[in-house]
């Protein structure tokens, strides 16, 4: 106990030195907190924007649909699942879809297309479908004789809003599906390749056309906290409780993107290690200096009878107390900065547009990691760093050290 009291008093006694040592810890700590918060934030930000564009954070399919899509692999309990999703707090919004393949024709031109049936209201809420419309408008209802084409496809067919486009396909009962639709809008999702083949229909119309009844191929879900997507997916899977279906987070259905993000993350880890090293070295620097400079003091203590062990303890305690105080301040600053950055982010004037989204703001994020890792680092390095001189101080002969200045 005495040691603790002494530790505190020591710290307060030499304000300036304490200040400097403390400040360096504060500085390093704060920057590390900001860095991690930023890295995580922008990482999650990118994922969020990318997946929200069209895919969603979570997708529900028939179990084998992702491996080899087929018209016949459907989700049959759409209603029930919809109710579950509506009631789930973690779910921000969801959108049902059906897919098929067909031949679209206008005038002399024809092209193979992917038929996509979507619910306009839900799709707007989930993937901002309406924001990607570059000409005309989106669908007026769940069931309407309207079609929206991808930009490339509209160009191939040389058609514009107001024209009527033919769609021929094979329905789920084997019969020939044929119909005429009014082109009401043209959309650009940013993915040129898919825009060249996308033939969007209102969900009800698509289901009728393909004789699917009320069956679906896919339900896309957007959640409130992307960082918890895995857990949410597992929870939903449990609630839905249908072994024929698979509830997958984006890491599964956007695998290549995930791998790239992982590579990016790996890069971030490298950076993180570097930052940690720098912080550690900074702490080492100041702590070492501060401890070594006070060897005379420790010699004095020994001369008046303090046991070596107690000296070590004193040194360590001092450093730890200082570190903890500094960390608290640093945490306050760092988390405060992250809080601001997570709300407002940093806007870059040269934003990039991709898929109807504008990537121009990078935001930070407040999470546990951004506190824990720096804390751990600082504490460990401070303690380790003080150990050596502490032991040395404890062992030196009193007379020798007192002769130093």
């Amino acid at each position: 106990m005495l040691t603790l009291k002494m530790a505190f008093r020591n710290i307060l006694r030499q304000k300036r030195r304490t200040m400097f040592t403390g400040l360096s810890i504060v500085g390093g700590f704060t920057l590390a907190v900001i860095f991690i918060g930023w890295a995580d934030g922008s990482y999650n930000n990118i994922i969020d924007q990318f997946t929200r564009n069209r895919l969603g954070h979570i997708q529900i399919h028939e179990k084998t649909y992702l491996d080899r899509p087929s018209l016949y692999k459907t989700i049959d309990a759409g209603q029930r699942i919809g109710t579950i999703l509506e009631q789930a707090d973690a779910v921000e919004s969801w959108a049902p879809r059906v897919y098929g393949a067909g031949l679209a024709a206008f005038g002399e031109k024809s092209a193979g297309v992917q038929i996509i049936g979507l619910d306009p209201q839900r799709e707007n809420a989930t993937t901002h479908f309406d924001r990607k419309i570059v000409q005309g408008r989106s669908f007026s209802a769940l069931r309407a004789g309207e079609v929206v084409l991808g930009k490339g496809l509209a160009e191939i067919l040389q058609t514009k809003t107001g024209d009527r486009v033919v769609l021929v396909s094979q329905a789920a009962d084997g019969s020939i599906a044929q119909d005429l639709y009014l082109l009401v809008g043209i959309v650009a999702t940013g993915d040129d390749l898919s825009d060249r083949m996308s033939f969007f229909l209102p969900l009800g119309t698509a289901q009728d056309y393909l004789v699917l009844g009320d069956r679906l191929h896919e339900i896309a879900v957007v959640v409130d906290r992307l960082s918890r997507v895995n857990m949410i997916a597992a929870t939903l899977s449990g609630l839905i409780a249908d072994p024929a279906l698979s509830v997958d987070p984006w890491q599964v259905f956007a695998r290549s993107f995930y791998e790239a993000m992982r590579a990016d993350k790996a890069g971030m880890w490298v950076m993180l290690v570097i930052i940690v090293v720098i912080v550690a070295v900074g702490v080492l620097n100041t702590v070492l200096m501060s401890v070594l400079e006070r060897r005379r003091e420790y010699g004095l203590l020994k001369a008046v009878g303090t046991k070596p062990r107690q000296i070590v303890r004193l040194v360590l305690l001092e450093i730890m107390v200082l570190s903890l105080i500094a960390m608290t301040v640093g945490a306050g600053l760092g988390l405060g900065a992250n809080a601001i950055l997570s709300k407002h982010g940093v806007k870059f004037s040269s934003g990039l547009t991709y898929g109807g989204m504008v990537f121009d703001t990078m935001k930070s994020e407040i999470n546990l990691r951004s506190f824990v890792i720096p804390a751990f680092t600082v504490l460990i390095s401070a303690v380790l760093v003080s150990l050596f001189p502490a032991v040395k101080a404890a062992r030196t002969e009193a007379a020798k050290t007192m002769r130093m200045h």
């Binding site: 400097f20 860095f35 720098i278 070594l292 990078m362």
Partner: protein, 408 residues
């Protein structure tokens, strides 16, 4: 001046331990900056290279409108002139010609749609990496005109392997009538990119031209430049030169806009990180200098007491900061160089990871540039000097008696 310099230098070595530790702290920071810069450059080059070297090339020339509709009839206008021009271009390292069309490929087991591409193996080799990724068989090393090279995904779907027969059906330019021919699988490649491995079927250029009924026409000329900078979108003189006569020439930035977007994002993120990094390094510098100053307050008091002017004290401190900087820079530069060289030898293995249609299938190597060893050290030096001005001022202005009474 010279005296102060000498004194400054000797002063920092008086407390070797502290100087050394501080030097390392700053040095590590500098090394990191250098290494990170090299890594970023390497990563950027790698990504672009991965994306373009696989197949698409750093730039492409087509007939205007071809990219949009892939109309078989739209072959490049005046190919002979274009080729002659390209051969004389200094910035162009290699180029190759291709003819292509969507079609169907059939095997006994299955049928699939495919992009049917006729290429010239000789000029294709230095440009694209199909030949480097051949898993089975070869890349048109034999004379057989009926050779066809397909990807592993397609081979799986069609359930074929080397030597098996397949039939390709395409529609000819102009008439639209069907042309069919039989081929034998002579090579199977594997990029580990689904689209590449499943979407293409390569044959000899002459064979494709014959089947498509385009005579000696070609649809695409892919280009590789001597250096990436020539492939940039803003190298307008090149793109404009070849976008004449109804043709259009575009860089990879236009062909792969997602890649460009991604690189921008990465770049912005890294800049922010660099700023943070610099902040941390700066902090180390400030801290060291101040600590050293306050530790030696008594000393400065003495110097002042025996007559040194405030300006002299200031100069001394600044020089000490400079000396420390020089030391740190020496250590940091060396450290940075070593670290980068090591990683340049081993490389970072991101291979197999796919993103935005590109896969890192080459090792990532950082790139050393002279400017890294000029700009960053210079920045650190200047910064250190700048930072040193504050404690220098404090030391200069402190009253002598106060200084003498200071004991830390």
């Amino acid at each position: 001046m010279g005296f102060t310099l000498k004194l400054a230098w000797r002063n920092i070595f008086r407390n070797k331990r502290r100087t050394f530790i501080a030097g390392i702290a700053i040095g590590v920071g500098l090394a990191t900056l250098i290494f990170t810069d090299a890594l970023i450059l390497g990563m950027k080059a790698n990504m672009i290279h991965s994306a373009t070297a696989a197949y698409s090339g750093e730039g492409q020339i087509h007939r205007q409108g071809f990219r949009l509709t892939q109309d078989v009839g739209k072959t490049i206008n005046g190919p002979a002139e274009v080729i002659a021009g390209l051969e004389k271009e200094e910035t162009v390292e290699a180029f190759t010609r291709r003819a292509m069309s969507f079609g169907m490929i059939t095997s006994p087991a299955n049928v699939s749609s495919v992009l049917f591409v006729g290429l010239d193996p000789e000029s294709e080799r230095p440009l694209s990496h199909i030949d480097d990724n051949i898993q089975k068989g070869n890349f048109f090393s034999g004379p057989e005109a009926r050779d066809i090279v397909i990807g592993s995904e397609l081979a799986d779907l069609l359930e074929v392997s080397l030597g098996d027969r397949v039939v390709v059906t395409v529609s000819q330019a102009g008439s639209g009538s069907l042309a069919q021919d039989m081929f034998r699988v002579s090579g199977i490649y594997h990029f580990n990119i689904k689209e590449m491995d499943g979407g293409f079927a390569f044959v000899r250029l002459e064979k494709a031209q014959e089947m498509l009924g385009i005579g000696t026409g070609v649809h695409e000329i892919a280009i590789k430049f001597r250096s990436l900078e020539f492939a940039a979108e803003d190298n307008t003189s090149f793109w404009e030169k070849y976008s004449v006569n109804g043709n259009e020439a575009v860089s990879w930035m236009v062909l792969l806009p997602q890649l460009k977007a991604v690189l921008n994002m990465v770049w912005i993120s890294l800049i922010f990180m660099a700023v943070l990094l610099f902040g941390i390094v700066a902090f180390g510098i400030i801290n060291t200098l101040f600590m050293s100053l306050y530790e030696r307050m008594f000393e400065f008091g003495v110097i002042r007491a025996v007559g040194t002017r405030p300006g002299g004290v200031r100069r001394l401190v600044v020089f000490e900061a400079g000396a420390l900087a020089v030391l740190s820079i020496a250590m940091g530069t060396l450290l940075g160089l070593i670290l980068t060289l090591i990683v340049m030898k081993t490389g970072i293995d991101y291979r197999g990871i796919e993103f935005a249609g590109t896969t890192f299938y080459e090792m990532l190597y950082p790139e050393l540039h002279l400017q890294q060893f000029l700009i960053y050290p210079a920045a650190v030096f200047l910064f250190t000097l700048l930072v040193g001005l504050y404690p220098a001022g404090v030391a200069a202005r402190m009253s002598i008696s106060d200084a003498l009474r200071k004991s830390l």
